[in-house]
């Protein structure tokens, strides 16, 4: 078999490296303490409950700031400046990181995204019949969920908790159901986040939801590409600031796009809009895009899809690359669990 390093293989190596840093990084890069983590506002689901990681997700500070700080402006405990300054600092850090890597934090850095991709590959090799794309009607129903998750679970419910309208369990509701909390802590041998909490009805419901969602996510990832990413509030929060990111997915027009549609078929989040014809170079970094680059890899036309950094093309689609990539994909799909399992 001809050796050919694809963008996907390169991305897998980066994801593996980032998974090690985002789950075990404190063992060799930072330390156990929050103060020693890199940014504490990472645009990826690297969970703060995993004490061994090198950095953690921005959604936990946002929820805590809504609950304990921003709410202070409503209750009169804090001045407006005292109330919003921490959130502004977290937001500024988040935006700076988005400027640097944009939504590639999802496709290249997020440990939960990598885990789902690995489970999907496993499902493929185990012979699970996979759903290659979700139907348009399903997508229409699923896509808004991430915005509701962002609005209610990350901002509104924690804020209402801080003001006193909701119980304490609603102070960080997204973290309570986030599969990354269970995944990353289990990955470091800590089982304390996989539990049913009997201390109150609210805590019990959240804990059961979290465990159930984690199990469902694994089952779904065997047959569907990136099931949790589609409803992840981080994807939505990144989408708010995607215009300022230096890394973009850019499309140059091609008349064959309408009849091809390969890019949309391979897209892990089923962005069918990618295949629409663009008359001039257009930024097509959609809200659901994770900048994984798969669409550019599988585009059979020269220069039609490009991953650009500050206007400079990092990766461009080409006929030659497409032929090799397609061959490589066919070879990969031929390999089944039966081929590698001991006889």
């Amino acid at each position: 078999m001809e050796k050919f390093l694809t963008l996907t293989w390169f991305r897998r190596l980066v994801q593996l490296f980032m998974f090690i840093i985002m789950v075990y990084g404190s063992l060799f890069m930072t330390t156990f303490y929050s103060e020693d983590k890199f940014t504490n506002a990472l645009p990826a689901l690297s969970c703060a409950y995993d004490k061994e990681n090198a950095d953690y997700c921005s959604l936990i500070p946002f929820q805590h700031q809504m609950d304990h700080r921003v709410s202070g402006a409503f209750t009169g405990d804090l001045s407006v400046m005292q109330a919003i300054l921490p959130t502004l600092i977290t937001l500024a850090t988040f935006v700076i990181l988005i400027v640097i890597l944009n939504k590639a934090f999802c496709g290249w850095v997020c440990p939960l995204g990598f885990f789902q991709e690995m489970i999907h590959s496993l499902g493929d090799k185990l012979g699970f019949k996979r759903f290659h794309t979700l139907s348009t009607s399903t997508l229409k129903k699923v896509r808004p969920i991430k915005w509701f998750m962002l609005a209610f679970l990350v901002f509104i419910f924690p804020l209402l908790t801080g003001i006193g309208f909701l119980g304490h369990e609603m102070g960080d509701p997204f973290c309570r159901i986030c599969p990354s909390r269970i995944l990353t802590t289990l990955a470091v041998g800590d089982t304390s986040q996989l539990y049913i909490d009997n201390s109150s009805t609210g805590y019990m419901i959240f804990s059961i939801l979290a465990d159930l969602l984690f199990g469902l996510m694994i089952a779904m990832a065997l047959v569907i590409k990136q099931p949790f990413c589609r409803i992840c509030p981080m994807l939505a929060l990144q989408a708010v600031f995607k215009k300022v990111g230096l890394l973009k997915l850019v499309k140059n027009g091609s008349s064959s796009c309408e009849n091809c549609g390969l890019c949309a078929k391979v897209c892990p989040t089923d962005i069918i809009e990618i295949q629409e014809v663009a008359d001039k170079p257009t930024d097509i970094t959609y809200a659901d895009c994770t900048l994984c680059g798969l669409c550019a890899e599988f585009c059979p036309d020269d220069d039609v899809l490009q991953l650009q950094y500050a206007g400079y093309p990092l990766f461009k689609s080409s006929k030659e690359y497409f032929k090799k990539r397609n061959k490589d994909q066919r070879n990969w799909e031929k390999v089944t669990w039966a081929d590698v399992a001991p006889k």
Binding site: T31, Y33, S34, E35, I196, S199, S200, G215, A219
Partner: protein, 274 residues
């Protein structure tokens, strides 16, 4: 308004042993005032009580900020009020008592909320605060505490250097006592006992207990003693959180997911045949 007066059970002073130590004072608490999490930046000034000190000795009391700046404090009726530094992270309350041929010290680490200190807690634990000192290898991280049934590592240092094989006595306010010996690297591990009584369901319904680590060392005719006192809490997984229950729900979710997709595939096949 109904007030419930509770007296804390922090009365395990070490009069007999004579080790100087910091403890939360005996206080009257009202209902609704026993929250373990009263909100960032909304807490009252905290007081700590110094036990077993000699009023005729030379006392040096200081509060160390996360940035390692020292604030000198005065003792009033055995109590010190911890100043608000407005800085987030661990602070250390230290007392050094010198009398005749004995030097006694005690350290208490307190997590305070405020603006980010941007300094690692490693700095405050590694700073030499007294001649003989027991220091945590790692303090519990933000939003975490010492919990029963979990192990934590500490080390004994003398004048900033490691002190191997020194004996350490471990006491808790719930009555647990054991003697531990530091290893050749001067480190030792303690599993916080699950010695809580009448545990109620829910973290905020249970008050923390206190543990004290004590050690002594004689050098050039001078007796050095030190204590490290901190609170520890009921471990949720010992009482109201079930890890095995969580694992069962996870597996259930996995099975439900697989069952759903099996059915969807069957329906798709049927449609295809029609």
């Amino acid at each position: 308004m109904r007030y419930i007066i509770t007296v804390l059970l922090f009365c395990f002073t070490l009069q007999a042993q004579g080790y100087i130590n910091w403890q939360p004072p005996v206080v009257k608490a009202t209902k609704g005032d026993h929250s373990g999490h009263s909100g960032h930046g909304k807490r009252k000034a905290k007081q700590l009580q110094l036990n077993n000190y000699d009023p005729h000795s030379e006392l040096e009391i200081f509060y160390i900020k996360p940035t390692l700046e020292k604030i000198e404090l005065k003792l009033e009726n055995s109590l010190v009020s911890l100043p608000r530094t407005g800085m987030e992270n661990y602070h250390a309350l230290v007392v050094n008592q010198t009398k005749d041929k004995s030097i006694n010290s005690s350290v208490f680490y307190k997590y305070s909320r405020g603006r980010p200190s941007k300094v690692s807690p490693t700095k405050i634990t590694q700073l030499q605060k007294s001649d003989l000192e027991i220091a945590p290898i790692l303090l519990p991280r933000e939003h975490d505490e010492y919990h029963g049934s979990k192990s934590y590592d500490f080390e004994v240092r003398f004048k900033g250097e490691k002190l191997p094989y020194n004996s350490v006595i471990f006491n808790t306010s719930n009555g647990t006592t054991k003697t531990i010996q530091a290893d050749e690297g001067s480190e030792f591990s303690v599993t916080m006992p699950n010695d809580f009584k009448n545990v109620k369901t829910g973290k905020r319904k249970n008050r923390p207990a206190q543990f004290i680590l004590k050690s002594s060392y004689v050098n050039e005719g001078i007796t050095y003693t030190t204590t490290l006192a901190m609170p520890y809490y009921v471990s949720p997984t010992d009482y109201w959180q079930s890890v095995s229950g969580g694992a069962i729900v996870l597996i259930f979710g996995l099975i439900v997911g697989l069952y759903l997709f099996r059915n969807i595939n069957k329906k798709k096949k049927k449609k295809g045949k029609v």
